[in-house]
Amino acid sequence: MESVTVKNFRCFREEQTARLAPLTFLVGENSTGKTSFLALLRALWDVAFREVAPDFREPPYDLGSFGDIVHDRGRDEAQESDGFEVGFECLKSKADAKMTYHDSLFFRATFREKQSVPFPVSRSFSCSGHWVKTYATEDGGIAVHFGTPEKEWERKITPAFPFSQGDRLTGLMPILDALTPSKSSEGRPESDESVSRADIQMIFDSLLPLDFFGYPYAGSPVRSSPKRTYDPIRPSRDPEGEYIPTYLANMARRNPRIWATLKSDLEKFGKQSGLFDEIEINSFGNTAGGPFQVHIGKRGKKSGGNARNLIDVGYGVSQALPPITELFNPDPTPLFLLQQPEVHLHPSAQAALGTLFCSIAGPERQLVVETHSDFILDRVLMDIRDKTTDLRADDVSILYFEPNDDRDVTIHSLRLDERANILNAPPGYRQFFADELWRSVGL
């Protein structure tokens, strides 16, 4: 995603657009909407690419019911709220024999209340002047407004195509199929309102396929506690990373090739961060499904040390493992949503996280990190300034969430120049830190 637009959602009253980059940081005081913003990114992914109505209570986020999610001006003004509007811009690739082109695809959705939760009652896609906007009709069907740079049309397709079935929304592709005139209609005289197969094909080619695979990883700031001995569990992702030890054990026992790479990556980060030098899985019994322990080795400078159980080393190690393992996961996760990955980590390990983010983030793996850590941010700035990463200044966005007196929030999209100087910081950005330092140095 290149940018996200939000209006009337949580603390974001006015319509505003935030710039996203391969590596985006969300910074600002507590209760300024950073976590809501992360939840919104996942919801947008759901409604645009997975074509499902998003669950705003799915862990690790719980934004509550519709009344908790829509901006509260409706309640304050004793009138019914219209709902909220959200959207994004992303780059859509097209290739011909000679080169690959990128066009901006714009997506927008309007949510209204349906059985006390938000439901997307309209969705629109547009790219290169071709667009489709779908609305839910009162009878449960779909009204479609669509067009090309030259013409536009309106149709209602119902009842064969319901707007949704349960949480599943009727996808863009079947909608366009339904709008396509049959071959038998070819050759008939066209009226002004006629839509041709060629028109639909142009729209189809502009908007589809929505080839954004995978599912965002959403990590929680609260992670599962370490255990001395683990019984394997179903290794499906959870925000607190409870499945991570089982995932590591499965790799170590069943997939030595992937485990060798993963272990090497983890140990490299462990050394850079000062957290550990070695990670091992100790199995009990002969079966791959038996209990196991995670052992962590950290050597002294002069002498080697024995590996110790994960529960016997600093808490930071077990707390860092879930997000780190996810970042090294060979399965391509397109969008990482991380909340305060720095918790429990020494500043040196926080800084190492910054370098790790720089090495992972890119066009195929977008990282959005909510953080209060100056050490992470500072390391990223230095790595970009000193060109120790392939990431360029444009590849980083800092979103500063600034509350006003009414607790409405403005999102400032801060950019970097090639020396990693932070540009366009608004007045008052990090004023607290300045006041503290001035006091500290006695000036």
């Binding site: 500072d378 700035l381 100087n421 932070i422 300045a434 330092l437 500290s440 006695g442 000036l443």
Partner: protein, 155 residues
């Protein structure tokens, strides 16, 4: 607006030995609607000898209040400026920093550098202005006016 602090007022601004006008300038760097500080080249080493400055610099950088210029860029501009042989002062590195960073306000008590900074052949578009406590260390109307100007930057 973007400013440069010369090494000869380093202690006066950042060192706790502040004059009234020095404190006024430092407060301008801190306050929400204050200015930017340019740094790079030899001046970086000159100012970094002061621990307070290093701490303030680290903070201002994260706060988006530093215009950090690559030392090599400043050094190259310094050499080019020296080759012109038009500087009276021996602070071509400060003038070079102004030329490459766009900073057009200089805090200095060096008369020769003050003259060079006002020389449109050296610093122009807009012309450089000088904040000084060489004659008066209290806060004068000229000090206030200089820090309220929004046009002293070529960026």
């Amino acid at each position: 607006m973007c400013a440069i602090v010369d090494a000869n007022v380093r202690d006066e601004v950042f060192g706790g030995a502040s004059s009234e006008a020095g404190k006024f300038f430092l407060d301008w760097l801190r306050r929400p609607n204050g200015g930017l500080l340019a740094l790079g080249g030899k001046l970086r080493q000159e100012l970094s000898g002061l621990e307070n400055f290093r701490r303030i610099y680290d903070l201002l950088r994260l706060n988006g209040r530093i215009v950090d210029i690559d030392d090599d860029v400043v050094d190259a501009e310094t050499a080019a400026l020296e080759a012109l042989r038009i500087c009276r002062s021996n602070d071509a590195h400060v003038l070079a920093l102004a030329r490459v960073s766009g900073a057009r306000l200089l805090y200095t008590n060096d008369q020769s550098l003050q003259d060079d900074f006002g020389d449109p052949r050296i610093v122009a578009n807009p012309r450089g202005r000088v904040y000084t406590t060489r004659l008066r260390s209290d806060v004068r109307p000229t000090h206030r006016e200089l820090l309220e100007r929004a046009d002293l930057c070529a960026r």
